[in-house]
């Protein structure tokens, strides 16, 4: 469902599909965890999902940093505002986890998922806007 770019639009690395794949992994991790709570959640699958999501996020950061030229000013502006909003959302979720007595490794994994979520979405939205803007300079 990603809008097909016509031939006159600049070809960019597959940052949007990778970011969507990252969201998919985090959502699967979230569903898997929620389906087990409040019992013990088997940690192998959630750690694997988190590691894969982190790898995809790191790949996206590298791909993004290599784009030249790019509308970095707009990218930074959108990413910063969306990040501020998602810090609030992720903070609320973290509060609920702690409030509901989630502790130890389980809390660490969930926090890791929230961090990936709170970085990935701003990156995706910043890129989605900046790709259609005139590059800096």
């Amino acid at each position: 469902m990603v809008a097909a770019a016509p031939s006159d639009e600049r070809r960019l690395p597959p940052i949007q599909p990778i970011a969507v794949a990252t969201i998919v992994l985090i959502v699967i991790g979230g569903i898997y965890t929620a389906a087990h709570l409040p019992r013990h959640v088997p940690q192998g699958p959630t750690i694997a999902l988190l590691a894969a999501a982190l790898a995809l996020l790191a790949t996206n950061v590298v791909l993004l940093a290599r784009i030249k030229p790019f509308a970095w000013r707009i990218f930074r502006m959108v990413t910063a505002w969306v990040f501020a909003a998602y810090v609030v959302i992720a903070g609320m979720l973290e509060y609920v986890f702690v409030y509901d007595h989630t502790r130890g490794t389980q809390l660490l994994i969930l926090t890791g998922m929230l961090v990936v979520f709170a970085v990935n979405i701003p990156l995706l939205l910043g890129f989605s806007v900046a790709r259609y803007q005139d590059p800096d300079g």
Binding site: M1, V2, A3, A4, A5, P6, D8, E9, R10, Q16, A19, V20, I23, V24, V27, I28, G30, I31, A34, A35, H36, L37, P38, R39, P69, A71, I74, V78, W81, A85, V88, I89, M92, L93, Y95, V96, Y99, D100, I121, L124, L125, S128, V129, R131, Y132, Q133, D134, P135
Partner: protein, 199 residues
């Protein structure tokens, strides 16, 4: 980036409103709602959690169904200038309203399920609950991965002196299709939630 901007038809250009990405004056309302949600969770008030879940869920479902299945097809059949006129006024509001309703519904819903003991794996209808997580998960991927990026990109394109109408048309298609899919997914949510509420 070399953008091939197609000019907006002359009759439309003078009346084009200044596009605001986020309606700032609505932010205090969002703040009040979020504070209310935190208080409801912290106090474990059954009524407050019920209120946030039912009111938020009802509005979220209604908006998704209306936008996806009623407004979306109408928007798709409108002329490009008319589409832009409507989108530039509607999308900024949706950008604030929908995430707030989603946070309200999911935050209170999870806490409510915990309070009622519905999260326990021995709850007879646990599989229905897991099905609801899957439906919400699919909607989250579509909304965050496709719908929201298209929505924001359209708003920023509309702020340009000469917006590229062909690009806006392509992005609006993504918005219309994804809104339609989330609308259909909301029917599954209605089935699951009414099933859970009636057992």
């Amino acid at each position: 980036m070399a953008s091939v901007a197609q000019p907006i038809p002359g009759a439309f250009a003078p009346s084009r409103p200044t596009v605001k990405i986020v309606p700032v004056r609505l932010l205090p309302v969002v703040g009040v709602v979020l504070i209310g949600l935190v208080v409801a969770i912290a106090t474990n008030s059954h009524w407050a959690l019920d209120f946030f879940h039912v009111a938020g869920g009802g509005l979220w479902t209604g908006i998704d169904l209306f936008v996806g299945l009623v407004l979306g097809p109408i928007l798709g059949s409108m002329s490009i200038p008319a589409r832009l006129e409507l989108s530039s006024r509607m999308m900024p509001k949706l950008l604030l309203i929908v995430p707030t309703l989603v946070t309200m519904t999911l935050g209170s819903g999870f806490q409510l399920a915990r309070q009622l003991g519905n999260l326990a794996s021995n709850y007879p209808h646990h599989s229905w609950l897991v099905a609801s997580y899957v439906v919400v998960g699919v909607m989250a991927v579509i909304a965050l991965g496709l719908l929201e990026p298209a929505n924001l990109a359209v708003l920023f394109e509309l702020r340009k002196p000469n917006p590229d109408t062909a690009r806006i048309g392509r992005l609006m298609k993504v918005f219309i299709y994804t809104a339609g899919i989330t609308g259909l997914m909301q029917i599954a949510t209605l089935v699951i939630m009414t099933k859970l509420a009636s057992v």
